[in-house]
């Protein structure tokens, strides 16, 4: 059996460990666009504030791929899935045949089409290790940072750099921080705590345009900044699936066994959507434990 996994994070690792419980000999190939050993994405904020190191944030030990007989193609981008020939085509033209394929491509930050956003020179997202490294290079004790989005990613970013910059202002269109997980009462407690660390919030407001060093908000007020972090949300990485004719709604549609609409192709983690057992509705539930368990269950 030839297993191929596109992606190298929690769902991919879950899938490798799940496969090896059942099949010790089949070949496993992991295609990873990032040129890194598997690492824990949620730890990038801990890396910036010095609570972990690049070595310690490895999600599995250095010997993981060897121990599990995995061929890791790091720094290689999958550009096409050929369902008919049952192969994945890489950017460099290489063709990887599969018997079973897992799409675990995660999600990408969403950059809203705001007037002038393309002219912002020091603009960052906060999802990957490279994002964190680039942000770290750009900041200095004099930096005034504007973060768009008071969700988990925006606030983890704020936590990560809080002691390394002059000021942080977080803007969100919702009336409270962490609006997807907290109600007003709870949000105000967390907001109070974060404000006590010197971070400022502008809520129920949003950026309508950027001019050099300045963001103009809907309310008319403006915020001066040196560095912009865009953390308004993420979009599942579904392009490969869409191009291959696999059913995609918000995420790649999967059943209770993580199967997609195509034979022998599975999807897991942030790129997929499945039935939330609590509500009975389909949704993308982008949490690391879910990604691991979906990946683990897919083979």
């Amino acid at each position: 059996m030839r297993y191929v996994i596109i992606g190298n994070s929690a769902a991919a690792v879950g899938c490798i460990e799940g496969i090896r419980k059942l099949d010790k000999t089949g070949s496993i190939t992991v295609i990873s666009s990032e040129n890194y050993h598997t690492y824990s994405r949620p730890l990038i904020s801990y890396l910036l504030c010095g609570k972990t190191t690049e070595q310690k944030m490895k999600y599995r030990p250095d010997s993981f791929y060897e121990d599990n007989k995995v061929a890791l193609l790091a720094g290689k981008k999958a550009v096409r899935i050929d369902k008919g020939k049952k192969q994945v085509v890489l950017e460099d033209g290489m063709e990887i045949p599969y018997d079973k394929l897992l799409i675990a491509t995660g999600s990408d930050p969403f950059i809203p089409p705001i007037e002038g956003i393309d002219t912002v020179e020091k603009k960052f997202t906060f999802m990957s290790l490279n994002d964190a490294k680039e942000l770290e290079k750009a900041i200095s004790p004099k930096s005034r940072v504007l973060i768009m989005g008071a969700g988990l990613i925006g606030l983890k970013c704020a936590e990560g750099i809080a002691r390394k910059v002059k000021s942080i202002t977080v803007v969100d269109m919702a009336d409270r921080i962490l609006s997807s997980i907290l109600d007003l009462d709870a949000a105000s407690i967390v907001q109070w705590h974060i404000e006590s660390k010197g971070i400022k919030f502008i809520l129920s407001d949003s950026v309508v345009s950027f001019s050099p060093g300045k963001a103009v908000l809907k309310s008319g007020r403006s915020v001066s900044f040196d560095i912009l972090v865009v953390a308004v949300g993420v979009r599942p990485n579904t392009k490969l699936a869409i191009d291959a004719g696999i059913e995609v709604a918000r995420g790649i549609v999967t059943d209770e066994h993580c199967r997609t609409s195509a034979d022998d192709i599975y999807a897991a983690g942030d790129c997929s959507e499945s039935i939330d057992v609590v509500t009975g509705e389909r949704r993308v539930l982008a949490l690391l434990p879910n990604a691991y368990m979906q990946g683990e269950g897919s083979p």
Binding site: G14, S40, P42, L43, Y46, K51, T52, K56, M57, K58, Y59, R60, P61, L288, P289, Y292, M293, E296
Partner: protein, 142 residues
């Protein structure tokens, strides 16, 4: 592999398991020195309501939700024992939320703590079992 099991009918609710656990993991050789004036934070705890009481510690599940959910890879299964790499743990508490038994808890230094069957201390066998006066906690293969 051998695991810790409890028999709630025999539990006296004396909390000795908690003290033996705290002592075993204190690094001290004298129990008085280890526990005097110390608010203990043991890896096994007595759950008690009315006449019912029993000890709750890690069950070293065969399909552990804490390990699957660990965001750093700090929790692993080593020879059947769910083990924490406290140096790698960042204290996100995902495992605490995931554990169906409430057997993982915060520690003083920010990382989480959990029962590792006394393999990392000098006891050899679980101290809670050895010190249980009524045989309500046992260490056996089932």
């Amino acid at each position: 592999m051998k695991r810790i099991f409890v028999n709630e009918k025999w539990c006296l609710g004396c909390h000795l398991c908690e003290y033996n656990c705290a002592f075993a993991n204190s690094g001290e050789s004298d129990m008085v020195k280890a526990l005097k004036d110390v608010k203990i934070n043991p890896l096994i705890t007595i759950e008690q309501k009315g006449n019912v009481c029993f000890a709750v510690g890690c069950r070293h599940c065969k399909s552990p939700l804490c390990v699957k959910g660990c965001i750093t890879g700090a929790l692993t299964v080593q020879n059947g024992i769910i083990t924490i790499d406290r140096d790698k743990c960042v204290g996100c508490y995902t495992c605490i939320l995931s554990c169906p038994y409430g057997a993982i808890m915060p520690s003083e230094d920010g990382a989480v703590q959990k029962c590792e069957l006394c393999v990392k201390n000098t006891c050899g066998e679980p101290a809670c079992v050895a010190g249980c006066p009524n045989g309500a906690i046992v260490f056996e293969e089932r």
